[in-house]
């Protein structure tokens, strides 16, 4: 039984990476269209990945530098696999038996921290600048996200993702986006921070610090990071689907809901300039946290 689960999980992982790259291509296409230009093919990310993967030479700055992409990929894949795609279905609930929401929240950091250490060993000043900015901004967007997650946990009296999804069954109105609108609002705003999309594009900041942390990475290393980041993005979409949109009853619904969630940061990112770091941290600690607090107090009073 365990081996079957692992095999299906592996398939789900490959599907996740492909879906992530596809969504990346779609987002580049939509961004291009919004800038009134044709933009690359939808499959551009696949081609880029393949080109990077088959590059002939690469450089390495040390052991930690060498291992960082593996950390990134494993972190992304792990996060993806801990989130069940379809709750209840033995083939599509991945490794959700491995841990609950608390495990997932700490797991999300593993990929970033591993990559951060590798990039820092490259010796290029851009890397630590990017990483410190990323971590500081994470301290920013983690507050609203934590508040909304705690609201859900207390409301559904469970910390496992399946429990939260089961609590939302029975019609659209039971979804948490409607039962706890403010918490959902807080979470979706912090999603912008998590994705590092434009108003909060402080980590990779192409104009200022030339792609930030992965400055010194090249060829195959970069392909691992690239795939890790895209599967990490899909994992977040899945998580938000399960937490706020009532999870998916079958694979089709999973695609539809994740695509909707995917569109939300995309539209924001193309119309906003970039925040400075202190502005983004203070923004996250004021508006979305306030929304979250409203729901938190509501839960506290109701209990």
């Amino acid at each position: 039984m365990m081996w079957a689960k692992i095999f299906y999980a592996f398939l789900a992982l490959l599907g996740g990476i492909a879906y992530g790259l596809f969504l990346g291509g779609v987002s580049r296409k939509i961004t291009a269209r919004m800038q009134n230009r044709r933009g690359p093919t939808i499959w551009q990310n696949f081609i880029d990945l393949w080109k990077l993967f088959r590059k002939k030479t690469a450089i390495s700055h040390g052991v930690m530098f060498y291992l960082a992409p593996m950390f990134r990929l494993v972190g992304g894949a792990g996060t993806f696999l801990l989130v069940p795609i379809v709750v209840g279905n033995p083939y599509l609930s991945n490794f959700s038996f491995g841990g609950d929401l608390i495990v997932l929240m700490y797991f999300m950091v593993l990929g970033c921290l591993g990559m951060a250490l590798g990039a820092a060993e490259s010796g290029h000043p851009h890397a630590p600048i990017g990483v410190t900015r990323g971590l500081s901004q994470m301290a920013g967007y983690e507050l609203p996200f934590v508040i909304s997650v705690v609201v859900l946990m207390i409301a559904d009296k469970t910390t496992s993702i399946e429990g939260i999804v089961r609590a939302q069954q029975g019609g659209i109105l039971h979804w948490h986006i409607f039962t706890h609108p403010f918490a959902a609002a807080a979470a979706f705003i912090s999603l912008l921070g998590m994705m590092g999309s434009y108003p909060f594009q402080v980590v990779l900041a192409p104009q200022e610090i030339a792609i930030g942390p992965p400055t010194e990475y090249s060829s195959t290393f970069l392909s691992y990071m690239f795939s890790g980041r895209s599967v990490f993005a899909v994992a977040k979409y899945l998580l938000f689907m399960n937490l706020f949109l009532g999870g998916a009853s079958n694979l089709l619904w999973a695609f539809v809901k994740t695509f909707v969630i995917f569109l939300w940061p995309l539209f924001i990112t193309n119309v906003f300039p970039r925040f400075r770091l202190e502005q983004s941290v203070l923004f996250f600690w004021t508006w979305p946290s306030l929304f979250g607090l409203i729901d938190l107090v509501r839960i506290y009073l109701v209990r």
Binding site: K51, T57, T215
Partner: protein, 192 residues
């Protein structure tokens, strides 16, 4: 590690095979996703801006500007090169990972152009770097540049864009030419 130790690639990189079953697919992918290093060396780099933005959109060809030479495939030499800029261009070229390609814009890299008799500008670029595609014109317009990129994609597809292999194979010839005009690789510290 002395202060001015020379950090250049002096030892010769060993030969690399360039064939195999997937060569056609790899070359197809390499042609369709060319990442250009954002390093405007001369007056032509102003032409690259419209090429890569909405008006002419080189992203249609899968091309994207990247910040560091480590991640780039294509180095665009966009104008005359003085001894000073040549030093940096060679260092950037060596930091790029192969397979890498060089596209030269304008007349000056070809034969020195209007600065043919300048005491500073070099006359022929391919003495120092292997150039895959020349795009002539005293700064070609974006349409010409896009045509040049299409030609580069064709070369890559057909496997003939092997400038980087030539550079590795006869590195000594290139080094000897470079040493003729570059005495030492220590660069002054411009902190004024």
């Amino acid at each position: 590690m002395g202060k001015d130790k020379n950090y250049f690639l002096n030892e010769k990189p060993e030969k690399m095979t360039y064939g195999g079953v997937f060569r056609k697919i790899n070359d197809w992918a390499r042609a369709r996703s060319l990442w250009v290093v954002a390093y405007g060396t001369g007056c032509g780099s102003i032409e690259l801006r419209p090429t890569f933005t909405s008006r002419f959109d080189a992203e249609r060809l899968g091309m994207r500007m990247v910040g560091t030479p480590r991640q780039a495939d294509v180095l665009i030499i966009s104008g005359y090169l003085t001894v000073k800029t040549l030093k940096r261009v060679i260092r950037v070229y060596e930091q790029m990972q192969s397979p890498k390609y060089v596209v030269a814009l304008g007349a000056c890299p070809i034969n020195g152009g209007m600065y043919y008799d300048s005491y500073n500008a070099i006359n022929r670029l391919d003495l120092y770097l292997p150039v895959d595609v020349w795009i002539t014109g005293c700064m070609p317009r974006p349409e010409a540049i896009l045509a040049g990129f299409k030609r580069l994609q064709g070369l890559i597809d057909s496997g003939k864009a092997d400038g980087w292999k030539k550079y590795i194979e006869n590195l000594d010839w290139y080094r000897e030419n470079q040493r003729k005009i570059i005495k030492n690789w220590r660069m002054p510290n411009y902190n004024w």
